[in-house]
Symmetry: C2
Subunit: 466 residues, 2 copies
């Protein structure tokens, strides 16, 4: 009894003391959730909190502590939820959601030459790209993705839509040696890209980038012009590399080298390079990639669907390469869902390497968060919940039937959680989705637009076959 009274009196004074101290202001305080930080020690904080100010994380810790230290304009009670760094999709062609499922179950060249390229040539203009981007953004946000790395045409329009929706992105304008929907010559595309970079460089959400399509669609001279532009403005240099056996045959035939060797020899790689796919890679080539410290976007579902092959990810992880996960475009996946990509990645490397220990749940969750940030050379800013980083944070419900019961957090994040479990999404400190409702995009208008373009696309392909 006496002890209780002393305890109560002490508590009262301590509480009073904390309250009498000036609390620090914050814009947003998330508290009461299980915080999966993905910091260096992979710390998980039960009943954890995050204080956010000016779009940045200013403190991470126990709820009790942060609630006594901060006075926030807005609070989110994350109790019963798991709080994770926003997911990072390292390879997309975002407007291609409008081609979702337009042509399946065929080989890469057939698919590109007879469906995707004609459909693009006949339909892709700036309005199409804007509509597709809005649809893709909505899907990304709903699935808890806060950063994506894109490669398409009209990237300036994509940048405008992305910034408006409050999503973070690296946006690479595609350079290719044939007339593209936005620019008819390589020179025009290069000029467009330079203007695009100048316009967006320094933007808080958008990182402009240069994306020569692939070694088999862009000449050596043009590849090097792209690299020069990347160096000049210090922006990312994105390329599809070593995706298909046909590509290896092409570079062997034309340059006497395998794709990775070829790009190395011509001096393509710089410290801002991001490579998509990298399936056809030997152990020596992986060492080479390590030397240049390039980022790698691994897209297992697209690679499986197009029968391109399985990238040697366990070896890359062993060599500590910068490896992230991507969905690729929705025409070859057929969604932008990183949860399914994680689940597949964890499983495919086990069976492919005949090793059930390959690609553990925590390694895979790393690839979708801090690994993705490293792949995009953005690990100083995103990928984990740490003081000083951008406040890109996702709240995940952990109470669905398919998540019940729960023994291990990482296991459940990778093998059991679905996009439909994502509850709330915060990007750069702003709430973009709350309890499953999009706050910066109009879902119904987006669907209407998408269906309008679908009709147009179907009509255009019909006239093609006539």
């Amino acid at each position: 009894m006496k002890k209780t009274i002393i305890f109560l009196i002490t508590s009262f004074f301590l509480l009073n003391h904390a309250q009498s101290q000036e609390k620090q202001p914050a814009d947003l305080l998330i508290f009461g959730g299980t915080v999966v930080t993905m910091n260096q020690n992979r710390e998980i904080i039960e009943d954890g909190a995050i204080a956010i100010k000016n779009g940045n994380i200013v403190s991470v810790g126990k709820s009790s502590k942060l609630r006594s230290l901060y006075k926030a304009k807005l609070t989110i009670n994350a109790s019963g939820r798991v709080v994770i760094p926003g997911l990072i999709n390292t390879h997309t062609h975002i407007p291609m959601v409008l081609f979702r499922g337009i042509a399946d179950d065929m080989d890469l060249q057939d698919w590109l030459t007879n469906y995707i390229f004609p459909a693009e040539a006949k339909n892709v203009n700036e309005d199409f790209v804007r509509a597709g981007t809005r649809l893709g953004l909505a899907e990304l946000i709903k699935g808890g993705t806060t950063t994506y790395c894109d490669m398409y045409y009209f990237e300036d329009a994509i940048a405008e839509e992305t910034a408006k929706a409050g999503v973070r992105a690296i946006l690479g304008e595609t350079l290719i040696d044939f007339p593209a929907p936005d620019n008819k010559t390589f020179e025009d595309a290069l000029k467009y890209t330079e203007n695009f970079i100048k316009k967006w460089k320094g933007h808080r959400l958008i990182t402009p980038a240069i994306a020569p399509h692939a070694p088999y669609t862009v000449s050596k001279e043009h590849l090097l012009l792209a690299r020069q532009l990347s160096d000049k403005f210090d922006v990312p240099l994105i390329i599809h590399l070593a995706e298909a056996e046909t590509e290896t045959e092409f570079t062997l035939k034309n340059f006497g080298l395998r794709p990775i060797e070829y790009l190395e020899k011509i001096g393509f790689f710089n410290k801002k390079t991001i490579l998509a796919h990298v399936i056809q890679a030997t152990a020596e080539e992986i060492s080479l990639l390590k030397k240049y410290d390039v980022g790698i976007a691994h897209n297992p579902q697209s690679n499986m669907k197009l029968a391109a092959g399985i990238a040697p990810i366990p070896l890359m992880l062993k060599e500590n390469l910068r490896v992230g996960l991507g969905t690729d475009g929705a025409a070859s996946n057929n969604d932008l869902n990183l949860w399914e990509e994680m689940d597949t990645a964890a499983k495919i490397h086990k069976v492919f390497n005949k090793d059930p220990k390959a690609a553990s749940a925590v390694q895979i969750f790393e690839m979708a968060t801090i690994g993705g940030a490293r792949a995009l050379h953005l690990e100083k800013f995103i990928g984990s919940i740490e003081e000083g980083k951008r406040a890109d944070i996702v709240l995940v419900n952990f109470n669905s039937l398919h998540q019940t019961p729960m023994y291990n957090l990482y296991s459940h994040l990778v093998y059991a959680t679905k996009a439909s479990d994502v509850d709330t999404v915060i990007i750069d400190g702003k709430i973009i989705m709350k309890n499953g409702r999009l706050l910066t995009l109009n879902e119904n208008a987006i669907k209407r637009e998408a269906n309008f373009y679908k009709q147009k696309i179907v009509k255009s392909l019909r006239s093609n076959s006539n």
Copy 2:
């Protein structure tokens, strides 16, 4: 003008005529949806309807026609929805949902010997099995699965829970040559199984079955006793077969034969046999399986996660074997989600066979419906929406962002639709889930029970390591 009047008058009389005719009674009429019948011609009926009476489908056709022919006690407006045959999960260990994610990223023998078998020995009793079954049933229903084929212990309790929830199942009591949670000897288990069969044989939802575990855990004599019981009562005979390389090594070493050859030689296969996995199968062995007309449960996600290998499904489909899809137990998947299983199946065979045309969307959707029915030797009753079959029907929302836009129904069912898109589930003519709400199970109570058992399991494994 004149024509319009004549048309209106004619329509009026026709309408009147139809109305004046005695309409036939039905229990339930689903109308206005896009009906994916999966009948022989793979017919898809736009604005289609299904009339149901006494648990059976009595008519399938255009909404306008069926609405004029039937007067139903209950109607469901399926407009904007896709109406499919209930999905069929051909291989589960349903109560193992309680072990979901308990031990990942390890090899099959380690996983079985050091985690699953001890956890089972210490925790599995009838109450555990009932709680796990309810959790698994809820997950199955939410994902649009209407029939599952199980293999576990206390199958009588599983049968009771399944019948109560209104779900269709083949339930195979496990026979194994070491003390099981329900029966300490093989003889006890055999006796239990016989009683179990007698109790449930002829039940409209439950098909009792016999499930000797595997060729490496059940002796030749016991395998043959199981087959005899299957013959005697004409009930399914379920077994794990040719799952792992270690199994092949075991039968080669002990019997000088590969697993399939061994079972054939001892005379195990009958016309009611259902084989789970069948990964280690040569072309000759596939011909053998064709000869015996056995069913095959393909579980790609489990096989990938345990690095067991990839079953030669394209070859089996070419030979027109009875192939269905399964999730396996949730301890090795980690869910009971057939949508993800379809997506994975469609992709894994492409990359594994280096053929992007392997396993098309329609072939995969067949495996989850009519193919699954064939694998379970139940194709006369389930697997398609056809007159005379059991009314196992699922309504799927097709309006989510990740399904927008839609070009091809089968592509979207396999590559884009998620379990969260399932809206309404009807089994044997009864509505089991309506607009995402379970009608025969209490979701909150199920979660509470699951968490109770989780605590118990964690404690039991801790005491193991001490």
